[in-house]
């Protein structure tokens, strides 16, 4: 699975968690860009991502996410490593 594919799957997850069909997600997207992406939804979203990809983030990794791209790259690295 390459990063584009991961991003596509993440986007689908976002749409479900944030309950909004019209969300556009790019690598540069940050929490500020999406109204529904607040502190509470963030945790739920991370949980969904982990479940979907069957991975487990470290706390340091999660706190270091500055945008969607950071998360996608981390997912990629984890899937490669697995």
């Amino acid at each position: 699975m390459d990063q584009t594919e991961i991003l596509a799957q993440v986007t689908a997850l976002f749409k479900r968690v944030f309950e909004n069909e019209h969300i556009n997600v790019a690598m540069e997207t940050t929490a500020d860009d999406i109204d529904e992406w607040d502190s509470l939804n963030h945790t739920a979203m991370i949980g969904e991502v982990e479940k979907h990809f069957s991975i487990r983030f470290k706390l340091k990794e999660m706190l270091g996410f500055k945008n969607v791209g950071d998360m996608v790259r981390t997912i990629d690295a984890k899937l490669q490593g697995a």
Partner: protein, 475 residues
């Protein structure tokens, strides 16, 4: 040296004149020197403690980035900062609690109470230090190697006493830039300082007379005075704190620095969750970033329960940070309950309010949130749990009729207070649409000068600069 004093006026004038007269490279050193002088006026011993904190965090920051024990160094830095705060601020509180518990079991607590004076700003600078170390650990920031830059970031006099809880990752890069004199920026900043001063001395300090009268002995009152004091305390706290912040932001802006925004019309919040995004923002985002978020992520498998636990933990800490005592713990718990309620009912509430027009629902939500805010601050302001209990059970008791004019503010002064509050709200409403400073700037010169003069005269004549009391007690 508090901002609303003549000494600060003189200090800041001299500081600024020299600041812009010396070469750009010297300015940083000048800020450092002035900040040391400023803090020295508060407490020479506090300066020693703060110097220790600065050296400690300077080293941990570098070690976290460089050494092979990143995580251990991070925990060392966090424990070091919290430990210091604990000893100065919380030791006696927990020690007394332990004494009470042991007494229940018939034991004697052998640990004596500490008699320490809390260094000014310790609650603020320890948080900033923790944030700095965590940021370095998470690689959001490089450790600062230049010691004088690092020290200036912590000592920076506009924010040392009462925040904002600035992130070193925001301030340090600004300290590396060279600052220039910019006429528009400086005059805008001066207006912000005047605005903050107005809120502080005309509104907050005036209201404090009434608020103190009632809260110092609430059992004398029932009904209206209790409601009035609760309401006005909320406004006082806002005017005081946001006024102070505006002066801090304004002073920094004169020098060419942009500090974090701390308030965003909190009384326009439509939910408690929303309120905490608008009130003391630098602190609430700190809590979010360094406490709530790591906790809720760690407990993410517990789903909503994990979040609720994280919320409660965060708000109890927040309560204790604001003040030491059980009323503050309870205040935190109350806010935690409100946030947890809002978390669980997001969908339900959305559906419910859809039945009404958005304008109506928005206003109703604002009013409900404001009432909650007033009630929760009433808790925090009470001197004891007993007082809080009394106040909450006597809001609608009319047995003791005390005139609202007999609470320390005569009718004239109460009228001024109300007028000033209305003025504050109107200006802030306009500010939320477009910059009030820009509106003033667009007026002809005569009108501008008239506004400045009137504003200064209002502050001078209507402000409360001393509380009227002379501090000497024995002579």
């Amino acid at each position: 040296m508090i901002f609303n004093s003549f000494s600060f006026l003189i200090f800041f004038t001299v500081f600024t004149l020299i600041y812009f007269s010396i070469s750009g490279k010297m300015r940083l050193w000048w800020i450092l020197f002035a900040s040391i002088v400023f803090y020295y006026f508060f407490s020479p011993i506090g300066l020693v403690i703060l110097s220790g904190v600065i050296i400690f965090n300077y080293l941990t920051g570098i070690l976290i980035a460089k050494s092979g024990y990143k995580e251990r160094m991070l925990w060392l830095s966090i424990l070091g900062n919290i430990g210091l705060l604990f000893v100065y601020k919380y030791f006696n509180f927990f020690n007394l609690a332990a004494t009470d518990l042991m007494q229940l079991a018939g034991l004697h607590n052998p640990v004596p109470l500490l008699h320490l004076i809390i260094p000014i700003g310790i609650s603020f600078y320890t948080l900033q230090a923790i944030g700095y170390n965590v940021d370095v650990y998470n690689e959001l920031q490089q450790p600062e190697k230049k010691f004088h830059v690092f020290a200036t970031c912590f000592l920076f006099f506009p924010k040392i006493a009462q925040g904002p809880v600035e992130r070193p990752r925001n301030l340090i890069p600004q300290l590396h830039e060279e600052k220039k004199f910019d006429y528009l920026r400086v005059t805008d900043a001066l207006k912000l300082i005047a605005w903050g001063l107005f809120k502080k001395v005309v509104i907050a300090d005036r209201l404090s007379v009434l608020v103190n009268t009632v809260y110092n002995d609430p059992h004398q009152y029932t009904g209206l005075p209790l409601i009035l004091a609760g309401l006005l305390y909320t406004v006082q706290l806002y005017a005081d704190f946001s006024g102070y912040t505006d002066m801090a932001l304004g002073a920094s802006e004169v020098m060419g620095f942009k500090l974090m925004k701390n308030f965003n019309r909190p009384f326009a919040a439509t939910s408690v969750t929303d309120f905490w995004k608008r009130w003391h923002i630098s602190f609430s985002t700190w809590l979010y970033e360094y406490l709530y978020n790591p906790l809720s992520l760690t407990w993410r498998d517990l789903k909503k329960t994990g979040m609720v636990l994280a919320i409660f933990f965060t708000f109890v800490i927040s309560g204790l940070w604001h003040g030491v005592g059980w009323v503050f713990v309870l205040w935190g718990v109350i806010n935690g309950i409100a946030l947890a309620y809002e978390l669980y009912t997001v969908k339900w509430r959305k559906k419910f309010w859809k039945k009404f027009s958005p304008r109506v629902s928005m206003q109703v939500c604002k009013i409900i949130t404001f009432i909650f805010t007033v009630l929760s601050f009433t808790f925090a302001r009470s001197n004891s749990l007993g007082d809080a209990g009394y106040i909450f059970t006597h809001f609608f008791d009319l047995s003791k009729s005390v005139s609202p004019f007999a609470l320390g503010l005569n009718p004239f002064n109460l009228l001024i207070a109300i007028g000033a509050i209305v003025l504050m709200e109107v200006i802030q409403y306009y500010q939320s649409k477009e910059s009030v400073r820009a509106i003033i700037a667009s007026k002809p010169v005569r009108v501008r000068w008239a506004i400045y003069c009137l504003a200064i005269l209002l502050i001078l004549n209507l402000g409360d600069f001393s509380g009227g009391s002379f501090i000497y007690i024995q002579f």
